[in-house]
């Protein structure tokens, strides 16, 4: 009788841990997604992108980015106001991002007063000519991949979970991604993107990580494209969280008239 109780208890424990382990990778990726893309209810940052091509030529893009979450882990709205280079200055760009993948994008070109919706089918397109894709910038929802814990490791002395993510729906270019997630703040410190041939195609690296308004924030990051032999470094500055952005700011009215209280 006592043996039976013990066996039952052990079995239960085993099942429980099994469940915990199975859930773990998914839970971690969700937490990581939340920490990386959903910090606060909204946020503003000045962004500088340094794009280096294979010949070593550097191009710089500067813009202000506004983000607002409709719900945690749910729909988001993005607003981008370009400053540099000169040929895109004052151009604005807006995304209504929905976790079901039906994103909507608009661009406003002030020199011809043109508001234009953009077909947003291809998420792997480069974001403004950089080595980051649209999806890299606004996030790939964690439910679109199947996650498996590979191991524990350390990067620069910080403990990380090593997790492999495989797209549930077949993806044109990506076969799998291996993420190294910081065990304390859940930010991705390293991501390896493998193509269908099993070759490492892109490499994401976290840079500086700072505490801003109580949120652990990655203020520099880079993406290297090993196939194209190019690299983009993104720097965020003047970051503010929970500034009180309203849904109204992410409409055509503000696309044409940037909210000057935030975009100076």
């Amino acid at each position: 009788m006592r043996n039976l109780t013990l066996i039952t208890m052990m079995l239960a424990l085993l099942l429980a841990t099994g469940a915990v382990f199975g859930q773990n990778a998914n839970e971690i990726m969700k937490k990581s997604h939340m920490a990386y893309y959903y910090a606060g209810d909204d946020g503003i940052a000045e962004v500088t992108m340094r794009i280096t091509d294979k010949r070593g030529k550097e191009r710089i893009k500067e813009f202000t980015m506004l983000r607002m979450d409709e719900s945690d882990g749910g729909s988001q709205k993005y607003y981008t106001y370009f400053r540099k280079p000169s040929d895109v200055s004052r151009l604005t760009f807006m995304v209504h991002k929905s976790p079901d993948g039906n994103d909507q994008r608009w661009i406003y070109i002030p020199s011809i007063d043109l508001v234009k919706p953009i077909s947003a089918d291809d998420k792997n397109s480069s974001f403004v000519g950089s080595h980051f894709s649209y999806e890299d910038v606004s996030g790939r929802h964690w439910t679109e991949d199947k996650h498996t814990m590979l191991s524990d490791s350390t990067i620069d002395g910080r403990g990380v979970f090593v997790i492999e993510s495989v797209p549930i729906e077949d993806d044109k270019s990506l076969a799998r991604k291996v993420s190294y997630i910081d065990k304390e703040n859940y930010l991705p410190l390293l991501e390896e993107y493998y193509n269908k041939k099993g070759k490492l195609e892109r490499l994401f690296k976290a840079g500086k990580i700072e505490e801003i308004d109580g949120f652990t924030t990655m203020t520099t990051r880079s993406m290297e494209n090993l196939k194209k032999k190019g690299k983009t470094i993104i720097e965020f500055s003047s970051i503010r969280y929970n500034v009180g952005l309203k849904s109204d700011f992410f409409t055509e009215r503000y696309l044409k008239n940037p909210p000057r209280q935030f975009i100076k």
């Binding site: 040929d87 020199s111 011809i112 007063d113 919706p117 077909s119 089918d121």
Partner: protein
């Protein structure tokens, strides 16, 4: 001496400091060289463009009010008036309460859904620039206007009042030839029809009600003014003079995402107010026009669209009889126009290959625009382009420009 300058500097910085807010200035320097391909073009010059342009943009915003200026200085070697300048934009923007936005001054105005087809966008276009390879922004000519936008739960109501009529800028014969009703003319046929008198009754009014329904943007439009092209004729001292006939336009449009792309449908009724019965041979007949378009990304960095426009002229039988009697070209009652744009980005979006084709199976004419541009650095861009016009008949929309085929080279330095 040194001390004095320090005092002056200090005084200046004290007085000027907070009051003198920042004015941002940027712009570009651009050279454009173009030449005609067709030797038989009867224009005064073989050069469709030979110009250096400097655009300065100035911007300033204070408490709730914004100012923006865009000023172009041009040295134009292909024209007789060599130095030229234009205030492309110069407006103030401000908000009254929470629901009213105002934009007052010289401005570029665009609405409607068509890609280079304009139905309810009855704002001034500059085809002189468009046909010779100037940047896209020059397709739009500025208007001196007061624009008010009112936002409510019903949608956004926009009102644009242009006190003085602003016509389209059409080829004048100087560097681009055109069809004068009899033949294609160039040199010596300088074309500059008089605009309606500067009276309040001759001002232009454009309205739009814009409302989102789900993920679709729907709009209703109204315009009261004049045809932007001089489509009418009056007799002055026994000579025919082209004029801008009175026009009202009523229209609607819808645009939104579908099947991984964007679809748009727009329609409008061009109500020719000086030819209500369609029987005046000197004035254009009313017409009903509609277009449908679809755009989507067909591969990474490759986007294409297709448009189909149908234009139906009213009282076609009367029109036909009159035209035949005068020995003029008779258009079909229903005119079809197909267009397609293909844009290909290459080399990290540094190279942009763009093709745009207009083709009308009923008018049997077409227009091809092709360009390739390369961003050598963030500042410097090099572009090469071509404009080709074809037409079976010289009286059709593109057929009249058939001798204006040209190539151009453009260098732009942005700062």
């Amino acid at each position: 001496m040194k001390r004095i300058s320090i005092i002056i500097l200090a005084a200046l910085s004290l007085t000027a400091g907070p009051a003198m807010a920042e004015v941002t200035i940027d712009g570009f320097l651009q050279t454009l060289y173009g030449g005609r391909i067709d030797e038989s073009n009867p224009t005064a010059t073989e050069q469709t463009a030979s110009e250096t342009r400097m655009q300065l943009r100035a911007e300033h915003y204070g408490d709730g009010v914004e100012f923006f200026g865009r000023l172009d200085f041009v040295y134009d070697g292909a024209d007789s008036s060599r130095y030229d300048w234009e205030l492309r934009e110069g407006y103030m923007k401000f908000r009254l309460g929470r629901r009213f936005d105002f934009k007052v001054g010289r401005q570029i105005l665009t609405w409607g859904t068509g890609d280079l087809i304009f139905i309810n966008d009855v704002f001034a276009k500059d085809y002189r620039s468009f046909f010779i390879g100037r940047d896209d922004q020059y397709l739009k000519a500025p208007q001196n206007a007061i624009r008010a936008d009112f936002y409510s739960g019903l949608g956004a109501l926009s009102l644009v009042w242009t006190p003085r009529f602003e016509p389209n800028r059409l080829p004048t014969g100087r560097r681009l030839s055109y069809f004068n009703g009899v033949e294609i003319v160039g040199e010596g046929s300088f074309f500059n029809p008089p605009t309606p008198e500067a009276k309040f009754e001759n001002s232009e009014l454009a309205m739009r009600l814009n409302r989102r329904i789900g993920s679709f943007a729907t709009s209703l439009y109204f315009y009261k003014g004049f045809y932007k092209n001089p489509l009418g004729v009056v007799m002055v001292d026994e000579t025919m003079m082209p004029v801008y006939p009175k026009l009202n336009v009523y229209g609607a449009s819808i645009r939104g995402p579908i099947a991984g792309g964007i679809i748009w449908i727009e329609g409008g009724y061009f109500d020719s107010r000086e030819d209500l019965n369609g029987d005046d041979p000197m004035m254009p007949n009313s017409s009903l026009t509609g277009l449908a378009g679809f755009e989507r990304q067909i591969a990474t960095n490759l986007t294409a669209n297709l448009q189909w426009q149908v234009d139906m002229i009213s009282d076609w039988d009367t029109y036909k009889a009159q035209r035949e009697a005068a020995g003029s070209f008779v258009r079909d009652e229903i005119r079809h126009l197909l267009t397609s744009r293909v844009t290909r980005l290459m080399y990290d979006e540094l190279v942009n290959l763009s093709l745009f084709v207009f083709y009308s199976p009923t008018d049997e004419d077409g227009y091809f625009r092709g360009s390739v541009s390369y961003k050598y650095t963030d500042e410097l861009e090099l572009a090469l382009g071509v404009n080709i016009f074809e037409g079976k008949n010289q009286a059709t929309e593109f057929g009249q420009f058939e001798k204006n085929d040209n190539v151009y080279l453009k260098l732009t330095y942005g700062f």
